[in-house]
C-alpha cells in the first residue's frame, strides 16, 4: 500500500498535513504524538517581524465550526528560524512554512530568509481575512495575486504554495492567476468570512467583529472549490476545510486534492491529524487501493 504523494517534487510519506494557524509550529502537539506520522507540518504564519495579533475575544464557536480572528500573532522570522525550525527538524516529516506579510516586500523578505533554511515548501498566505493590510488584499484580486506570486517566486528557493481564499466570486479565476504567476502548488480553502452576534451582551462575539469560519460546517464549500479548481489548473492541490476523519479527507482527494490539511479538528481532538492519516489507510485497505495517487481527482 503506497500512501506517498508528491508536491512539486517534494515527496510526502502520506497526504496528511496540518492547516496553518491551528498547529503552531508543532511543539504543543508533539506532546501527544510523534509528528513523524504526518506527511508535513504546516506552521502558523510567519512574518518578517513579530505581530501581536488582534484584541480578544479572538474566537467563537459556531454550529459545526468556529470563527477566529487571531490576527496572525507570530514571533517573526528570526525567532522562528532560531527556535521553531530546529525543533521541527527533529521529526521525520516535511516542513512547510506559512508566510504572511503586509506588503509584497514583507513576503519576499521572509521567503528570502528561508531560502537557505531546511524548509521543504513555502505556503504564501494571501487569504487571511483577519488582518487589515496584506493578507486577503492580495487574494481577492487576480492581478494582485498573479503579481505577488511572480514576485515571491523570484526570491524562493523552495516550491511555492499559494493559499487561496474562498471569499471570492470565482475561485477558478484566482487559481488560474496563481498558476500564471508561477505557483507550484495551490492550497484551499482558507476560512470563510463570518460573523456571530452575542444576543445576550448585544455585541459581536469576537472583538474583530468578523472572523474566519472553519470546521465541518464549511466542508461542502471547500470540496466544491477543490473540485472546480482541479478542473482548471494542472497544479497539485492541498485541500482543506473541515476535515475531521479519513472519510472527510477522501472526499477532498477524490475531488482532486493531492494532499489534505487538518485544521479546526485539532482543537476538537489533539490526535485528529494522526487519526486522519490512519483513516486514509483504513479506507485504502477497505477498498484495496494500492496507491493513494490513483484516487486523486478520481471523481469527475
Amino acid at each position: 500500500m503506497n500512501t506517498k504523494v508528491t508536491l512539486a517534487g517534494v515527496e510526502l510519506k502520506n497526504p496528511v498535513m496540518t492547516a496553518s494557524g491551528t498547529f503552531g509550529s508543532g511543539a504543543e502537539y508533539s506532546e501527544f504524538y510523534d509528528l513523524g506520522v504526518l506527511g508535513a507540518v504546516v506552521t502558523k504564519g510567519v512574518a518578517s517581524v513579530p505581530w501581536p495579533g488582534n484584541p480578544t475575544p479572538r474566537i467563537a464557536e459556531t454550529k459545526g465550526g468556529m470563527l477566529n480572528a487571531i490576527g496572525l500573532q507570530n514571533p517573526g522570522i528570526d525567532v522562528f528560524i532560531e527556535r521553531d525550525l530546529p525543533f521541527l527538524k527533529k521529526y521525520d516529516t516535511n516542513i512547510i512554512v506559512n508566510v504572511c506579510g503586509k506588503t509584497v516586500e514583507d513576503y519576499c523578505a521572509v521567503v528570502e530568509r528561508l531560502s537557505s533554511e531546511p524548509v521543504d515548501l513555502l505556503e504564501i498566505n494571501v487569504s487571511c481575512p483577519n488582518v487589515k493590510e496584506g493578507g486577503i488584499a492580495f487574494g481577492q484580486d487576480p492581478k494582485a495575486l498573479e503579481a505577488i506570486t511572480r514576485e515571491v517566486k523570484k526570491y524562493a528557493r523552495q516550491p511555492i504554495i499559494m493559499k487561496l481564499s474562498p471569499n471570492v466570486t470565482d475561485i477558478t479565476e484566482m487559481a488560474r492567476a496563481a498558476e500564471a504567476g508561477g505557483a507550484d502548488v495551490l492550497s484551499l480553502i482558507n476560512t470563510i468570512t463570518g460573523m456571530k452576534i452575542d444576543i445576550h451582551r448585544r455585541t459581536f462575539a469576537i472583538a474583530n467583529k468578523t472572523g474566519g469560519m472553519s470546521g465541518p460546517a464549511i466542508k461542502p464549500v471547500a470540496v466544491r472549490m477543490v473540485y472546480q479548481t482541479a478542473q482548471v489548473v494542472k497544479l497539485p492541490i492541498i485541500g482543506m476545510g473541515g476535515i475531521c476523519s479519513g472519510e472527510d479527507a477522501m472526499e477532498f482527494i477524490l475531488a482532486g486534492a493531492t494532499a489534505v490539511s487538518i485544521g479546526t479538528a485539532n482543537f476538537a481532538d489533539p490526535y485528529a491529524a494522526k487519526k486522519v492519516a490512519e483513516g486514509i489507510e483504513a479506507y485504502m485497505r477497505q477498498y484495496q487501493v494500492e496507491d493513494i495517487q490513483e484516487l486523486v481527482g478520481a471523481v469527475r
Partner: protein
C-alpha cells in the same frame, strides 16, 4: 504531561442554582493535577467542536478522582450537567500552570468570586500556611463547607443575605484582615480591585485569568492576555492564558 482520557463520571449533583459538582475518575490526570490547573471537557455533540475549559476544584490523587464545579454558561455546559454516574466524558488535562504553593509566605487570602470560588478548595487544602478564604457570592452559597474545613472562611454576598454585604474587598475591610500573599480567581472587576489592593499593600498576588479558548494547549493563540513583560512565545506582550497561565502574578498582566 497532558493526557486525553475517557473519564468515568463518579457522581454529579447541582449544588446551587445552575452550578454543578462533577466528580470524575481518571487514569492519570488526577495523579498529576495541581490546584489552579484546569481540564478541557469535550462535548459529545460533534457540532460543538471546542472543548470547555473547567477549573479543578478538588483532587483525590490516591483514588485518581477529580472534582470540577462549573456553572451552566451555554449549551456545552448544559450538556455536561446531564452526565450521570457511570457515563463517560472525554477530557484533556491537567492544563495550565496552577497556583504556586511554596512561596515562603505565612498568611494568605484565597479570594474567589462566583464561579471563581471552586479552585480555592484544593488550594486551601494544599497551602502550608494560615489560610483565610474570602468567598464572594451574588446570593446563593456553595462549597462553603469545603472551604471552611481548610481555613477560616469569610463570606460576602452582593445582596447581603449572608456575611458582609458587598464584595470580597468589603469583607477584608470589615474584618480588618491582613495577609502577606493573595490568591484570587473571579470576575475581572473583582480581580482589578484585588490587584490594586495588593499593590497598595506591597504583597504578591496570584490571579487566575479567564479567556475564550480553542485548543487549550497553547497552539492557537486565541486566549491571550496582555502582559507587562515580553512573552516567551511570540515575543510581544501576549501571554497565553491556557499555557503560560491561567495563574499570573497580578503585576504581570493588564486587567
Amino acid at each position: 504531561m497532558k493526557y486525553k482520557e475517557s473519564a468515568t463520571v463518579v457522581e454529579q449533583k447541582e449544588i446551587a442554582s445552575g452550578i454543578y459538582s462533577l466528580w470524575i475518575q481518571t487514569e492519570q490526570i488526577a495523579k498529576e493535577a495541581k490546584p489552579g490547573q484546569f481540564l478541557s471537557l469535550y462535548s459529545r455533540d460533534e457540532s460543538r467542536m471546542l472543548p470547555r475549559p473547567i477549573s479543578i476544584c478538588e483532587i483525590d490523587r490516591e483514588s485518581g478522582k477529580l472534582r470540577m464545579v462549573y456553572r451552566i454558561a451555554g449549551k456545552g455546559t448544559e450538556e455536561f450537567s446531564h452526565l450521570a454516574t457511570g457515563d463517560r466524558i472525554e477530557v484533556l488535562g491537567p492544563l495550565g500552570n496552577g497556583f504556586p504553593l511554596d512561596t515562603g509566605a505565612k498568611k494568605a487570602f484565597l479570594m474567589g468570586g462566583g464561579i471563581g470560588i471552586p479552585p480555592m478548595v484544593q488550594l486551601a487544602k494544599e497551602l502550608d500556611m494560615e489560610v483565610q478564604v474570602i468567598a464572594g457570592y451574588r446570593d446563593e452559597q456553595f462549597l462553603a463547607d469545603e472551604l471552611a474545613a481548610n481555613g477560616s472562611l469569610y463570606i460576602a454576598t452582593e445582596d447581603g443575605s449572608a456575611g458582609t454585604k458587598g464584595n470580597v474587598m468589603d469583607s477584608v475591610r470589615e474584618h480588618a484582615l491582613t495577609a502577606d500573599i493573595i490568591y484570587a480567581c473571579g470576575p475581572k472587576p473583582m480581580l482589578r480591585a484585588i490587584k490594586a489592593y495588593a499593590e497598595e499593600q506591597g504583597i504578591p498576588c496570584w490571579i487566575s485569568m479567564e479567556e475564550r479558548m480553542a485548543c487549550g494547549i497553547g497552539a492557537c493563540l486565541a486566549c491571550v492576555c496582555q502582559s507587562k513583560e515580553v512573552d516567551g512565545h511570540t515575543h510581544v506582550h501576549n501571554k497565553r492564558v491556557c499555557k503560560d497561565g491561567p495563574v499570573f502574578l497580578s503585576t504581570e498582566v493588564e486587567l
